[in-house]
């Protein structure tokens, strides 16, 4: 009886993750119900807030941009067999690169500034992920612990740099000097009227390109093959003559560079300055996005959109239903990580039984 029939591919790829997400939302709904609020009404308000009008939709896509980058940063490392919990810190340090290049060349037209900010941010973010990569590759320090610690080190380091070095005199709030309007990455609203004054900007296009790039890199390049080989079987990889330590370091650096694009979206465009704690949890959402999206760019895009809608809809919800705070979104995020990540196989065995029975019945 212990012979297990593997699930059909579509069930494994689409149905199982979808059921897990539905389960996470059902439990979220029960929690909302438990405090005496109407979950269906909440969902209605959130959908309306996230997609119902141009400005709201623009905000949704702005958050989606952040979550795509953070999700890709986790996914990429995951393919190489590493759990990168560090996008939060990598994005934060990436912000330093973005603001340094922007303030040094302040006044440059955005079309030139945009690529420079991408490169500078990517270098800083890559550096912040590269160190845990080196420590894992050369010294065997566990990447999960080191990336968590590096998030904390980033908080202290950046708070020192922002409050003591970058903060101009006479400014009350903890932030750097502003980037000139001409140097900022333009909002999509300037080209497409629908989005109005919403913060979604050209970085969103960059996020779409990044999805394509990661797809190509992981599944259609030699490097990606080596990366997946490392993730599946490190021993076989070594016998195949692939240097695992080199792979680990490069993959982590790439992941850090992707995470740093969160900073381009925020520092380089919307805020136009480096603000204390600007990442504000977006890096951690990346963990949920990556697990929910099964580390595949299409999955990452869809789950980033879902979380983008949750974040924007959640803001709306806080106005319309004061009984539900936006922390409910963090709870949903937790449930999604729990059910799609840690308990992802809970429904696998019942589903296998179901499909195995279906197969034998149709066979006879």
């Amino acid at each position: 009886m212990s012979v297990r029939t593997p699930l059909p591919r579509w069930v494994d790829v689409a149905l199982l993750p979808a059921l897990n997400v539905i389960l996470a939302f059902l439990i979220g709904g029960l929690i909302v119900l438990a405090v005496g609020q109407n979950p269906l009404q909440a969902v209605g308000i959130m959908i309306g807030g996230a997609f119902g009008y141009g400005l709201g939709f623009g905000y949704t896509l702005y958050y989606t941009t952040d979550f795509i980058f953070a999700g890709l940063a986790v996914s990429l490392a995951y393919h190489a067999g590493m759990f990168n919990i560090g996008p939060e810190g990598q994005a934060y340090v990436g912000g330093l690169g973005v603001i340094l290049v922007a303030l040094a060349l302040n006044g440059l037209h955005w079309s030139l500034m945009f690529p420079l900010m991408i490169v500078a941010g990517a270098l800083f973010g890559a550096f912040w992920a590269f160190i845990p990569g080196v420590l894992q590759a050369k010294r065997g320090s566990h990447i999960v612990i080191t990336t968590i610690l590096f998030n904390f080190i980033a908080v202290s380091l950046m708070s020192y740099i922002i409050t003591r070095i970058l903060k101009p005199e006479g400014v009350q709030s903890d932030e750097s000097a502003p980037i000139d309007a001409i140097s900022r990455i333009p909002r999509l609203g300037e080209f497409i009227g629908l989005f109005g004054r919403s913060p979604v900007n050209l970085t969103f296009i960059l996020a779409i390109l990044a999805l394509g790039f990661v797809y190509w890199l992981v599944w259609h390049s030699k490097f990606g093959y080596a990366m997946r080989a490392l993730g599946h079987n490190p021993t076989a990889t070594r016998y195949a003559g692939i240097s695992s330590s080199r792979m680990i370091m490069i993959t982590m650096a790439l992941a850090g560079a992707l995470a740093a694009m969160v900073a381009v979206n925020n520092v380089g465009s919307v805020q136009g300055r480096l603000i204390l704690n600007f990442v504000n949890g977006a890096g951690f959402v990346g963990v949920a996005v990556a697990f929910m999206g099964k580390a595949h760019p299409i999955g990452v895009a869809l789950s980033a959109l879902l979380f983008g809608a949750l974040y924007q809809g959640g803001q709306e919800l806080a106005f319309s239903m004061p009984g539900i705070t936006k922390e409910m979104i963090v709870t949903i995020q937790a449930l999604v990580i729990l059910f799609t990540g840690a308990m992802g196989d809970m429904l696998r065995i019942p589903l296998e039984r179901l499909f195995a029975r279906g197969a034998t019945e149709s066979g006879t």
Partner: protein
């Protein structure tokens, strides 16, 4: 004499700040020794702090608060166990999920129940664990050197703080002198050997998780209804992660864990003390430089530059019985 009094004051706050670290660190010790990585300590601290404060506020009893705090930690350990022992899921992911769950739910439920922006109502002294004055403490305060040490440093903490310090020798005894301790260490190193000997790996790991929950539950309770008078948003503030770092630093041993937690507590106390003070050569020490020290020290240790931290062998790996 003045410097001596300063030192006593700093050491006194060192003890206060170290208590939740010690409890969380010992909690992590039990589960990691049994082969279960517990990234979720942070969330368990936060969740039990909320549970304790909410129940203490409603019932007025700190003891019921303590039970609630431990109860919350037990429930969270249950989820962790279900995911990582029964379903053989990834323990790190499950821990991360628990941290987010605590961060989200405490604020959400706090706001729904108490309408104070996620905080619980301010507790009065009857609803909290209060400092205990040890016998003769006031009388002996005047005795030079030993007087302040006894009456300031040793006396005047609450019962949960003393419990934390008592838990260290008990843990050392249980772990290294009892049959249960031997099995616990074995299940973290080589679960198959235990399984072969007819001992249930699942049961042992759940037992470890229960002890973990009790200890971290006391730690969370200490945060909200002993050290403070109510729950604040995100009041664990990374202490669970620091405790995890301390655990690695202490190489998964109880007595070193106590020392490392005291060291990290001391750094924390120092950071408040040094704010705005200028030193002759180096000038003002930035707060951030001290805040970051525990993390940097742990990284250096993990990189193997000061000794080697080797985790229990089976830690993080779900156990699958052969079919």
């Amino acid at each position: 004499m003045n410097y001596f009094n300063d030192l006593i004051l700093i050491l006194d706050s060192t003890v206060r700040l170290a208590v939740p670290l010690i409890l969380a660190c010992l909690a992590g010790l039990y589960s990691e020794r049994a082969g279960i990585v517990d990234i979720g300590l942070e969330g368990k601290l936060l969740g039990s702090a909320f549970g304790a404060a909410a129940v203490a506020a409603v019932t007025g009893s700190p003891w019921l608060g303590l039970f609630a705090g431990i109860g919350v930690a037990l429930a969270m350990s249950g989820i962790h166990g279900l995911a990582s022992i029964n379903l053989k899921g990834n323990q790190t992911i499950s821990g991360v999920a628990l941290n987010f769950l605590a961060a989200g739910l405490t604020t959400f439920l706090g706001q729904s129940w108490f309408h104070r922006g996620g905080m619980t109502p301010q507790l009065n002294n009857d609803q909290r664990f209060n400092p205990i004055v040890l016998p003769f403490a006031p009388e002996l305060a005047g005795v030079p050197i030993l007087g302040p040490i006894y009456s300031e440093l040793i006396s005047g903490h609450n019962i949960l703080a003393y419990a934390a310090f008592v838990a260290v020798p008990i843990t050392a005894f249980v772990l290294f002198q009892t049959r249960f301790g031997l099995r616990l260490r074995a299940v973290g190193e080589n679960p198959k050997a235990l399984d072969t000997a007819g001992i249930s790996v699942t049961l042992l790991r759940y037992q470890a998780l229960i002890i973990t929950a009790v200890l971290v539950g006391i730690g969370g309770t200490y945060l909200s209804i002993a050290q403070s008078a109510g729950f604040n948003n995100n009041m664990s503030a990374g202490r669970g992660y620091i405790a995890l770092a301390a655990l690695i630093f202490a190489k998964w041993k109880p007595w070193p864990a106590l020392l490392v937690c005291l060291l990290f507590g001391f750094l924390d106390a120092l950071q408040f003390r040094l704010q705005g003070i200028r030193f002759p050569v180096i000038g003002e020490v930035p707060v951030q430089a001290i805040q970051v020290l525990p993390y940097v020290l742990t990284i250096i240790l993990l990189a193997g530059f000061i000794g080697r931290a080797v985790a229990p062998k089976a830690s993080g790996i779900p156990y699958t019985k052969e079919r």
